[in-house]
Amino acid sequence: MKPTPVSGQIGDSPRRADGPQKVRGDFEYSSDLKAAGMLWGATVRSPHPYARIVAIDAAEALALPGVHAVLTHLDVPGTKVYGLEIQDQPVLAIDVVRYWGEAVALVAADHPEHARRAAQAVRVTYEVLKPLTDPELALTDDAPRLHPGGNVTRQVKIRHGDQSAQAEVVVSGEYEVGMQDQAPLGPESGLAIPDGRGGIDLHLATQWLHVDRDQLAGILALPPEKVRLTLAGVGGAFGAREDLSMQAHACLLALRTGRPVKMSYSRPESFVGHVHRHPGKLRYEHGATRDGKLVYVKARVLLDGGAYASSSTAVIANACCFALGPYECPSATVDGWVVYTNNPPCGAMRGFGSVQNCYAHEAQMDKLAAAIGMDPVELRQRNAMKTGSRLITGQVVEGPAPVAELLDRIKAFPLPVEGSGSGRGGGKVDLTQMPGGVSNTTHGEGVRRGVGYAVGFKNVGYSEGFDDYSTARIRLSVANGRPRAEVHTAAAEVGQGLITIQAQIAATELGVTDVVVLDADTQVGSAGSSSASRQTYITGGAVKAACEAVRERVLALAQSEIGRSAGARLERDAVVSADGGLIVTLATLLGDAVVEETREFRPRRTHRLDAATGQANAHLQYAFAAHRAVVDVDTELGLVKVVELATAQDVGKAINPQAVEGQLEGGAAQGLGLAVMEEIQVKDGVIRNASFTDYLLPTILDMPPLLMDILELGDPHSPYGLKGVGEPPTISSGPAIVAAIRAATGRPITRVPVRPQDIVGA
């Protein structure tokens, strides 16, 4: 891709580097790639959630016109299974399929339609088995063992404080969270090109080039240097691109046929081509004093991981570590399980375990407030976590933890006028503002307003000792008489604005106005994944470190060429003195010289949770956000209109304020989706709504105005004091909406997404 220079320092909001191409339609996404002589790949997928494969007959498919190859697991030359944490998922099914839509065989053909028809013509004989679809049953001895180690993918136990604590006021509840899809608009897609010497180049959309590269090298039985990955345009991710989807399949077909092979999933295939947010069942008991101080919390968290592990082991750790929400509590007993079933595999999605538990702990806090007759915001503030608080894992919270302040700030926003646009004030009815919208189901009759609050938090970066680092290469040279910095990392721009942020950091550190960020690829060291709200922190830290190394060399060069100047620095494309006077321009100083440095950035180490007690300094940084929701509910039809959202979040330092706002807005919309609209409907292991017609995503009519208060409190440990930003908006937005629905209806509402029958049912 043609790199576009970016000007702008940290704290600015320059136009995004990839923006002009994106608005023109010129930006090359992974689904837009082409190569001469290219074939199209298609996947044969299981029509059963659980079955034995008796036979695969490819003869008919191979005889069809334009078909070049049909592959099964027998054609996988290297490791036949893969996985981010546990290698349990076959590249192509081996003897058994464990979920509906599992990849069984591959086809390459000269036209997508030929490939599709050939895939249908691959005859697979199955012996259908009764699927295990109930995660509670999966925990028992009565269930079939889906994997050799049993059905418990991971159990987490946290024991904090007095395990026999008693309290004056006790509230309990059971909560259920449905399966959400990341639904990135760009389909899983990419182009694999064999290099003719046994190696392969793969251009693709992913969240982590190097983890894909390493898994592919194993699967293809190639040394890593023969597997080169380049990031193509990524049409959103949100966790859906952490695991392999078409990567290995396209490479296998390309290496077999000796031709470039493109794969691009349709939307229905995308629904089975990536993992989803874990559905969860959560049982909580909160004990408190009569004046509203938490005494203990007991929580049982059960997540359905589906057929394969993906990142389940890390998701359940988060769900348990943050099970109480951002509150101080002297005692906690948390037991969490994530289990294998024959449901669709689940893994990473924005919020990563902290979304499910937030619905439960915030419902419990409201229940507790009601039980003792206290304002729900006041109850939260009375127990709010702050700097120096101890988590239930024993870790002390360092850096700002402004939970009480965030709640103050959202409460301070004026509430929208009731009945505005509803006709109830006597004016003309604006149907778009009504529950049910232009379906014209109400003009305000039966509509009740509710207001709800929620606050949540999660970790930023990898946890539990996982080696978290990123690599940046900075090259400073003179082009056309001007200094120019090139930034090269493997960090995936997935839409969040990372290219621009890397350029802003380089512009700030090197004082140059012309910064170009090169395509992300595996020709530079790993950047880690674009997930866990970590890239601005970790890759930003690497870019900063590499720029500092370049700067040191440039200043040393200036000193040796021109002489010592105390306090000299880089600014305005020049070396300037302490008082800002020009010493020498970089163009003059560097001439034909190139200054290049590569640095890795590693934040502080984290540690694995103790298996028996769940105690450890397991996390790097915490990010907090709070939301207030205002809803109108048609109490006769059970329809909800979210009228307004308000949020406050501490971002430490807004490197790019416009991009930060974009994260808060987009994250809130995804939270709204899970609260009232989005659910993958799974029946007997089969997805019933694998399309955008049937899986309901928030539209511009569903997303209300969002009031924002962005705090920049500065974390003493992170580059520029920044905090991860991307995930917190998705955590507490939905629970605030559900709290508002409870307030409007007086009903308990223990399940999300909230359905009409939850509001009007018996």
Partner: protein, 168 residues
């Protein structure tokens, strides 16, 4: 199958098109115009919005053959060479672009809205763009971008003394 139509003002011919190909497929696979996007291919997300004889359509719902002899305008046809259309400028400036997969469709749909309604209210914007799904932005900055584009397009043109009216 052979399809001849006018695309972005230029007569184009696509040869050897499979009969089942949608207009979106013709544009993307046969005319080297991948700007219109393939997110749902069911008419739900609006990522493939184009003009067909001046009407906004989802290119994925139009059979390629139906474009025979007709005029198509895609997102690639809106800028004047290197100069972005004011709607495109406004999307960039307002921060309405993140992953950008929805952006081409939204830019075309906004262009259509402002042609019909030069100064839309927020409610009119929401109604007009309800067929375009964005997964990244939460739509807040998209609404900002449409208002910004509307303002820019109806500002008096410097020196023409007339002012007013969209310059689409």
């Amino acid at each position: 199958m052979r399809i001849a139509c006018t695309v972005n003002g230029t007569p184009r011919v696509a040869e050897d098109v499979w009969e089942g190909t949608s207009l979106l497929g013709v544009l993307r696979e046969h005319m080297d115009l991948p700007g219109s996007k393939n997110a749902c291919e069911q008419g739900e997300c609006g990522s493939c919005s184009v003009y067909l004889d001046g009407r906004l359509v989802c290119a994925c719902l139009v059979l390629g053959g139906q474009a025979q002899g007709r005029e198509v305008i895609t997102v690639e046809g809106l800028a004047s060479g290197e100069v972005l259309h004011p709607v495109q400028e406004a999307f960039l400036e307002a921060g309405a672009v993140q992953c950008g997969f929805c952006t081409p469709g939204l830019v075309v749909a906004t262009h259509d809205l402002l042609t019909r309604t030069p100064q839309p209210t927020t409610v009119e914007i929401r109604e007009a763009l309800a067929g375009n799904i964005c997964r990244c932005t939460g739509y807040v900055k998209i609404i900002d971008a449409v208002h910004l584009a509307a303002k820019r397009l109806t500002l008096p043109r410097e020196g023409d003394g007339k002012g007013g009216g969209p310059r689409l």
